[in-house]
């Protein structure tokens, strides 16, 4: 792999393509993944390269996509099932939560379910309410499923490869806003570049405040950190990368140093990622806490169509800066 910047969409495409070359049991299925070349162009060229056996267009049948992947995985295949957007995965929630996540458990380990659900996620571009969700935490609610949410090209590449190779079911979300964003890739040609499931990453070091984020939230946190640095506040940015398992070790290490925390996420604020991280911090790091933990999330409203109020609902770097300034 040449060391150069590639868009996150391309990094995901490479990971998927390489894993399909590595293992014949890996196949992709979903709406428009084959002849249309993928709604988000992640599977561009796959049909020509791998053929209809391994690149399978489905009807608009999310319940069947969700459940068929479970059966195929139990039987020995390694499906990568694409939900065109995560909004449509709600239709498959039963298959995901009741079967992908639980068949191993309720048959006490008799079966493995090595599947990956890929889903484009996020708000913006006036997509309106029903197409504007970043509901990763909903899926992270269920034991039995892992949830990966990369924030850049290299992470997406290594995380998807690990997700495909692992024997557990993984929901892998791809922020639509990050698809075109270029980022560095592994320096060497390395088809085995894997980012372990549940391992977070420090994206920026700093001693004054810890910003905990994932996916698009990492972008806002990094922008905010640069802005804060101009005012002499050094923020440490912890990218958890996975919502399940949660690498709280990394958060605790950072928090012991900074004693302050702002949690940043694209998702809705109630019963949220931010709520979970804040609760874990107060339970486990109470003695290190010097200020209230702040949360920056979307506003508690469905997303409207009209641009100005849509942007009002979304978190951004300035909201992160404002939250930090309240506690440093």
């Amino acid at each position: 792999m040449p060391a150069r910047n590639v868009a996150m969409r391309e990094a995901i495409r490479r990971a998927l393509r390489e894993e399909m070359h590595r293992d014949d049991n890996v196949f992709v299925m979903g709406e428009e993944v084959a002849y249309w070349q993928g709604t988000h162009r992640v599977t561009r060229g796959f049909l020509e390269e791998f053929g209809e056996r391994r690149v399978r267009d489905t009807p608009i049948s999310e319940m069947a996509i969700g459940g068929l992947a479970v059966g195929a995985a139990m039987a020995g295949l390694r499906p990568v099932a694409e939900f065109m957007t995560i909004n449509f995965a709600f239709l498959a929630l039963d298959a995901i939560a009741n079967h992908a996540a639980k068949v191993r458990y309720f048959f006490d380990g008799m079966f493995k379910v090595p599947l990956v659900y890929r889903a484009a996620s996020g708000w913006g571009n006036q997509a309106t309410a029903s197409h504007s969700h970043a509901p990763e935490p909903i899926f992270a609610h269920f034991p039995g499923l892992y949830v990966g949410c990369p924030s850049n090209s290299m992470d997406a590449y290594g995380m998807l490869k690990a997700s495909i190779r692992d024997d557990n079911p993984v929901l892998f979300t791809e922020s639509i806003a990050l698809y075109p964003k270029p980022g560095p890739m592994p320096a060497e040609d390395d088809g085995d570049f894997l980012i372990p499931i549940g391992k977070g990453d420090i994206k920026r070091e700093g001693g004054d405040v810890t910003l905990v984020a994932y996916a698009r939230g990492v972008d806002w946190a990094l922008q905010a950190a640069r802005q804060l640095a101009r005012d002499g506040v050094e923020a440490e940015v912890v990218d958890l990368r996975w919502l399940r398992p949660l690498d709280m070790e990394l958060v605790y290490q950072s928090f012991k140093k900074t004693n302050r925390c702002v949690i940043v996420e694209e998702s809705l604020p109630m019963y949220s990622f931010g709520g979970e991280i804040a609760a874990l911090l107060q339970e486990n790091m109470f003695d290190y806490m010097d200020a209230p933990i702040k949360r920056v999330a979307a506003e508690d409203a469905p997303l409207p169509y009209s641009k100005e109020i849509e942007l009002l609902a979304l978190p951004d770097a300035q909201k992160v800066v404002n939250a930090v300034k309240e506690i440093v």
């Binding site: 059966g71 380990g109 949660l246």
Partner: protein
């Protein structure tokens, strides 16, 4: 292909009396609170549906069903001891006490399990069948589905997917007249449920009197052969449940029309009697063999109860957490990891 041999018929009888004894024992144990839990859906009355159809399979074929799964498990040859222990939530149960009555399975028997969300197993069946197609094998996936499930989205989407991908699934609709308490004609616009196959361009093998194991078998043979060579098929088994939707269903006691209907089915369309009459009319005096099977069933089930009751209950935190995930080197865990489960 053809008629069942004498040995097959006698074996079907063995299977059917074993199921009936097992299910009626489960019912008694539930009443005595020796089996606890709220879900226990018995296969009494359905025996010929499973026995006749699975006789058309070979060992490498696959089977999956919903929550009325005890009979299916026993037909496939699962150990009654492990099945009874699962009813009682014991460590020695086939699912280690994690699944209970609705979640029996056995990898060794290509039994992909019983599932508790109505219709939820149907796309899984399609996925299992896809694996066979993907690897160029002609094994079929025999999938049992209740009449109620034919009205939900899983049924529609899964049958449609099986059609467009030519998946070797034998969709068997076990129509016992009721989805919980709702009669078929109050739940389905199309009351001839097998005709739903037409909507998806799937071959239907029609309606079968599923109280008669021989009729079930004759149709299943053709349907399985078709599925192996071409693609999905639908068969509708018309059958009846003797113990209500589940053991907590008391409608048969409360409603005169339902209890009269039940008596009528038991008196005129009893699957074990129908098979017995058939065997006797063809082979004369086989009373001794049949009596032996009946006695064996009583003994096997009694032994299963003794085994299950003597078995240990899972009780530790490790028992609770185990098998949430597959142990994996690709998963990073620290003392502070949250939501990682244990293997």
């Amino acid at each position: 292909m053809g008629s069942p041999t004498k040995a097959m018929l006698l074996d079907w009888y063995r299977q059917m009396v074993l199921i009936r004894e097992f299910e009626e024992t489960c019912h008694r144990l539930y009443e005595e609170k020796r089996i606890t839990g709220v879900y226990l859906h018995l296969y009494s009355g359905h025996e010929a549906s499973g026995v006749g159809s699975m006789a058309a399979l070979r060992k490498s074929d696959h089977v999956i069903t919903a929550y009325r799964d005890h009979g299916i498990a026993l037909i496939l040859g699962m150990d009654p001891k492990a099945v009874m222990a699962e009813m009682m939530g014991k460590k020695t149960g086939s699912s280690g006490g994690k699944g209970g009555s609705m979640h029996l399975a056995s990898k060794d028997h290509n039994f992909w399990g019983g599932y508790a969300i109505v219709g939820g197993h149907l796309p899984l069946a399609a996925g299992i069948a896809l694996e066979a197609r993907y690897h160029g094998k002609d094994d079929v996936t025999m999938t049992y589905v209740g009449d109620g499930a034919t009205n939900n989205g899983y049924f529609h989407e899964s049958l449609n997917m099986s059609a467009i991908w030519d998946l070797p699934v034998v969709w068997i609709i076990e129509n016992n007249g009721y989805a919980m308490g709702t009669e078929v004609d109050r739940a389905s616009g199309q009351v001839e449920l097998h005709r739903k196959a037409e909507a998806y361009g799937i071959k239907s093998f029609g309606r079968v009197d599923a109280q008669n194991a021989l009729e079930v078998y004759a149709v299943a043979l053709k349907a399985v052969d078709y599925a192996r060579k071409k693609g999905p098929v639908v068969i509708e088994h018309v059958t009846y449940r003797y113990r209500g939707h589940g053991v907590s269903d008391k409608q048969y006691d409360a409603r005169e029309d339902m209890s009269a209907e039940l008596k009528e089915w038991m008196a005129t369309r009893e699957p074990i009697k129908i098979l017995r009459d058939c065997i006797e009319s063809q082979y004369g005096d086989v009373g001794e063999v049949l009596a032996q099977h009946e006695a064996d069933a009583v003994q096997i089930v009694a032994d299963s109860v003794t085994f299950a009751e003597a078995s240990e209950l899972p009780s530790t935190y490790e028992d609770l957490m185990r098998n949430t995930y597959v142990s994996s080197d690709l998963v990073h865990k620290t003392a502070a990891s949250v939501g990682a489960g244990i293997d």
